[in-house]
Amino acid sequence: MSVEELIKAAGIHEAVNDKNTGRLIINRDKVVDSNVIPGLVIDAKEIKDGVDINFILKENTIIENPVHLCFGVTDKEAIQKIIMNVDIRKNSKISLIAHCVFPNAVDVKHIMDAKVKIGKGSKYSYFERHIHNEEGGIVVIPKAYIDLEENSRFKTEFELLRGRVGTINIDYEITCGKASVMEMTTRINGRGNDYINIKESGNLVGERSRGVLTSKIAVRQNAKANIFNRMIATGDYARGHVDCKEIIQDNAVAKAIPIVEVRNPKARITHEASIGSVDSKQLQTLMSRGLSEDESVELIISGLLS
């Protein structure tokens, strides 16, 4: 029953029924379903309070359909620890969609500890979508270290727009090798007494490496958000950009602490940040179309976080 609940909440019926689509479904500390496709090795061991996963994509493997991961907890109270070692070997390509679903959480802690290595010439995309309930009784602690080898590409998006955030503490660090490219985007919608703490760090070590860190956060009511974005460029002709946008309403508090550090005169990093209420012109434009102030704010925030 709990598996069906997870699949329904994650909206992955099609992926579950398609034998050509890779998947791994975990409820709390149990692997409840998986489908491994050629070129992919998934070794998932159940450990105390979680699962330890070795995820390998073999050399020269191109997987066209996204592979679905579901990390869920259907219990009200639980600790879930996911340890992931991802090894994307050279000249390969894969896209993962991770559904982190906690429909009944009252006191749940979800901890992710990932190490990701993207081999030479490979492309790896990781989209993590969280679906929480309205209780806010969840603590999410994702931590990842990502290493990009020459000419590889890494793109990740973290989205938490449905349900209350609870507490989230993201800590990602990426190191980019020669001519590699990384894009990291975080979109979170906080309210109530949600607490959002994001620490993202990009190290543009390799010559001609490129990176973009983007944070789009909305906080309302009594929610708080702290965004620490750090980008360091040391490689020749490295290029980076840090973009942080935060909308606050009511008694919410948002803080952005960007650090851009360039240690090579041939490198360059740009930065832009905005924190504040909804733009007055946007608001008044929508109100002049017959939307109430609340409807206008909602639409503006949904656009920013889309």
Partner: protein, 240 residues
């Protein structure tokens, strides 16, 4: 019959008198133009009617269908049937053209959005899913804003400098849209300093230093505006 009647309207911004005891009546169903040089108070007049923040502390009164707008905010004025297109439209990060236009027509379908875009010369297939942000030019955003107003089918439409940022080819789309608004029963107020735009109106007012100094046919106002007003440096004392 007047749809909008403004009497003795005075409005100051940061200590400067922008509108000075201005009185004017706009007849229902016509395309009006309010012309005047830069700084005459045209946009301020439009903002005061719409109730834009910073433009509501005025003396005098603005009556819409006989009802004072003084206590109404923008939303309430829009609900009554008033809307405004800005000279420089806002950017909305991430908000698609489709959702932007849909927001103003709540219960109408996608076909209304497509139709409105086509009326301003935009291909729906090309634009529906694009964001109304810096990826679009000012002219494109201007046409999208106009499309959202066409879709609204509202009664009083204020267009602030509708030709600003619009290329020559697209100008005809703007003029067609004005015609459509008229044919659909809307009253249109064109705020402009362009003689080309003025020609699209049926009745015009000349505004100078916050006061209406002349009104009448397009020919009359066009001659006055083009012949005397534009080269004038008299600081609001019109020559006869």
């Amino acid at each position: 019959m007047e749809i909008l009647e403004i009497s003795n309207l005075s409005l100051s911004i940061n200590g400067s008198h922008i509108l000075n005891n201005l009185s004017v009546k706009f007849e229902k169903g016509l395309v009006h133009a309010v012309v005047g040089p830069n700084g005459a108070g045209k946009t301020t007049l439009g903002f005061a009617v719409m109730g834009i923040e910073g433009y509501t502390e005025y003396t005098g009164d603005i009556l819409y269908k006989g009802e004072s707008l003084a206590s109404m905010n923008i939303y309430e004025r829009a609900k009554k049937g008033i809307t405004l297109a800005w000279q420089e439209p806002a950017r909305f990060e991430g908000l698609t053209v489709e959702n932007f236009i849909k927001s103003s027509i709540k219960n109408k379908g996608r076909d209304v959005v497509e139709d409105a875009l086509e009326k301003v010369g935009m291909n729906p297939d090309e634009y529906m899913l694009r964001a109304v942000d810096k990826g679009l030019s000012g002219g494109e955003r201007k046409k999208i804003e106009l499309a959202s107003i066409l879709a609204m089918e509202t009664e009083l439409v204020i267009l602030d400098e509708p030709d600003s940022g619009i290329d020559v080819a697209s100008l005809q789309n703007i003029f067609s849209a004005i015609k459509f608004l008229k044919s659909n029963g809307s009253t249109v107020i064109l705020i402009t300093h362009s003689l080309e735009v003025l020609k699209r109106a049926e009745h015009a007012f000349l505004l100078c230093h916050g006061t209406i100094i002349a009104e009448g046919s397009i020919n009359k106002i066009s001659k006055y505006f083009g012949g005397k007003c534009i080269p004038c440096d008299h600081k609001n004392i019109p020559e006869e």
